[in-house]
């Protein structure tokens, strides 16, 4: 089952990257995708039922816009701190508790946190994410958990769980 899904994804990737629909191209792509599936199929471990539910794609689209907006805001924030002559930074490493269960959700959340304002994920141990923060604005775990992870957690819960 998951081998078939990997084969379809790889064939789609091949067609996009070569961008031609001649019959030879499709045959060569199918052979290459078969080879790749035989070699690396056992490393593709995802739950595939979720691929077939259309509302997840809708939330993924919404999440894409929210994430892009946060990302642009993050960059202006960092640019301000870099350009400012006195460099208003107050760095530290804080511990954030996550409410997500699946592995892929935690990974996507950690990658998103790396791209948003002044935070970069250092390590993931069980349910706790260690985050390096460029400006520690509060010492209360509740407040900063909400501030760092709370914005994305609801969307990711709808997409991946």
């Amino acid at each position: 089952m998951r081998y078939v899904a990997l084969f379809i994804i790889l064939l789609l990737f091949w067609l996009l990257i070569t961008f031609s629909l001649t019959i030879e191209n499709v045959i060569v792509g199918a052979v290459a995708a078969l080879l790749t599936t035989a070699l690396f199929g056992k490393f593709f471990r995802h739950n595939l039922i979720k691929f077939l539910q259309p509302q997840r794609y809708f939330w993924a689209l919404v999440y894409l816009f929210v994430f892009t907006w946060e990302c642009v805001k993050a960059n202006f924030d960092v640019a301000y701190r870099v350009i400012h002559p006195a460099m208003p930074i107050k760095p530290g490493i804080v511990r954030v508790k996550l409410n997500l269960k699946t592995e892929i959700g935690k990974t996507i959340l950690a990658n998103s946190i790396t791209m948003t304002p002044g935070t970069i994920s250092v390590d993931l141990i069980d349910d706790e994410l260690y985050v390096h923060w460029i400006y520690v604005s509060s010492m209360d775990p509740e407040v900063y958990s909400q501030k760092i992870a709370g914005r994305f957690e609801n969307y990711i819960k709808k997409i991946f769980e």
Partner: protein, 110 residues
């Protein structure tokens, strides 16, 4: 100079500007983790913006679609590289800079 060319030129200017901020931060900020912060975020978003301008300039032909494919690969590669570098630097025993106020990761290490 039509509309698509103008929009793509503006996107390239924004991208190069973000790259400039990231590079300045790479030189100015005090310790490894802060440098990683500024450099990764600004440079990745700037490069994504330049690649997106290719899609807008040429439309959905092979060159634009290839640039569109490059964006998610760049996103995953750059964020995971930054995460691995930060973790490796901490494991190597590089301390946080002098201005730091809080360190929760220390108790895990010891």
């Amino acid at each position: 100079m039509n509309l698509a060319e103008t929009i793509s030129l503006i996107l390239i200017i924004i991208g190069v500007l973000f790259n400039l901020f990231g590079a300045i931060g790479l030189v100015r900020l005090p310790d490894v983790y802060n440098r990683l912060q500024s450099a990764t975020k600004c440079v990745t978003l700037g490069t994504c913006s330049i690649l997106l301008s290719l899609l807008i300039r040429f439309g959905f032909i092979d060159i634009g679609v290839k640039a569109l494919i490059a964006i998610p690969i760049l996103f995953f590669a750059s964020t995971v590289g930054a995460h691995a570098l930060a973790r490796g630097a901490y494991k190597n025993g590089i301390e946080l800079g002098g201005k730091s106020v809080k360190d929760d990761y220390k108790e895990v290490e010891s």
